[in-house]
Symmetry: C2
Subunit: 205 residues, 2 copies
């Protein structure tokens, strides 16, 4: 697909660099922009530049934030003794949506993945160990995806943290609420069985 216009070609090329977009979709988006007022595209371009230039990471938890300290770390009502370890801001949002978590977070900024060249030093791990070592934390909750990279990262963190007098937990894995047993995969069902909980504790919540 050779585009006759250099301006269009350049726009399509740059849009197609975004994840999940091919050249055809990128072309459709570029043409869509022409059907809108120019001010719309200027706003889009401005927002993207402001975002990458201005966004900060919270100095304590490394979550994306407009301020030096994010609103969660700055909230005195949160339980600073409990730290939930997540990959990025999407997982923070998912945890916050449950309404069941009142502790703080440690955003790693990724997962250990030798295939992608991401090692422990590329993640925000050092200052988590430092926080734990000065006794600021009593429980660490691993909330990472149960993929090979997630499991590797959890194992690495566990090795770093196991000698400190803290509780180290991970999210329970099991059959999702509302799911029929017959459609659950056997590994998940197996974990549900191994980590079965007293029925009275379910009745209470």
């Amino acid at each position: 697909m050779n585009l006759p216009s250099k301006l269009l070609e350049q726009a399509v090329y740059e849009i197609a660099q975004l994840p999940g977009l091919g050249r055809k979709t990128a072309l459709g988006m570029a043409l869509h922009l022409l059907h809108l007022p120019k001010s719309h595209t200027h706003r889009l371009a401005f927002a993207l530049q402001q975002f990458v230039d201005g966004i900060k990471r919270c100095q304590r938890c490394h979550n994306l934030s407009d301020t030096e300290i994010c609103h969660i770390c700055a909230d005195p009502k949160r339980d600073a003794q409990t730290v939930c370890v997540v990959e990025d801001i999407r997982d923070v949002l998912a945890m916050e949506n449950t309404g069941a978590y009142r502790g703080l977070y440690q955003v790693l900024g990724g997962k250990i993945s030798p295939m992608d060249g991401v090692g422990p030093r590329d993640l925000y791990i050092a200052d988590l160990v430092e926080k734990v070592s000065r006794g600021a934390v009593s429980e660490i909750i691993f909330a990472l995806s149960s993929t090979m990279e997630g499991d590797t990262t959890m194992f690495y963190l566990f090795k770093q943290l196991q000698d400190f007098p803290i509780r180290i937990t991970t999210l329970a894995r099991g059959v999702a609420v509302g799911d029929a047993l017959e459609y659950a995969d056997s590994i998940t069902l197996g974990k549900s069985l191994t980590h079965r909980v007293p029925y009275e504790s379910v009745l209470k919540h």
Copy 2:
């Protein structure tokens, strides 16, 4: 999904305005930009602005172009007597890819669609009729999608052009090359039958 960062929120909001993107995809794209050098986002923003500010429409065929007259209209080897009517630049690219067309184009810029508030006056139709009326054209080929809007547009154009001494044709509809008959829909197969062609003419091409 309430994003804690205004900069991120603004970026996600603007990306999600693009067609086919929801907020989750937009958030993934915004986070992806942070993994790339900032210069990448600046290039993207610059390309989009340059595109909407600088792109022109060819004064003759209304195709997108960096110049006043597009390279197709400016090519003296093309047959100026034949004009292929298409919706937008994507259809021009598709037609050019066949390598079988040597005439010029008329890019309408859309299709008549009362549902979307697009009437004949919103399209580049008037100057097509003018070209035909001054005898500059001997054949008009309708190459519009066979949807309700495409059919409506073709019918409108036909009414405007039918009294001039020109040939008016439309793309042949039929079973695609390589397709098995049993999987063709009945309307398409019906059209293939009605517009059947002499076997010798197939042998020649």
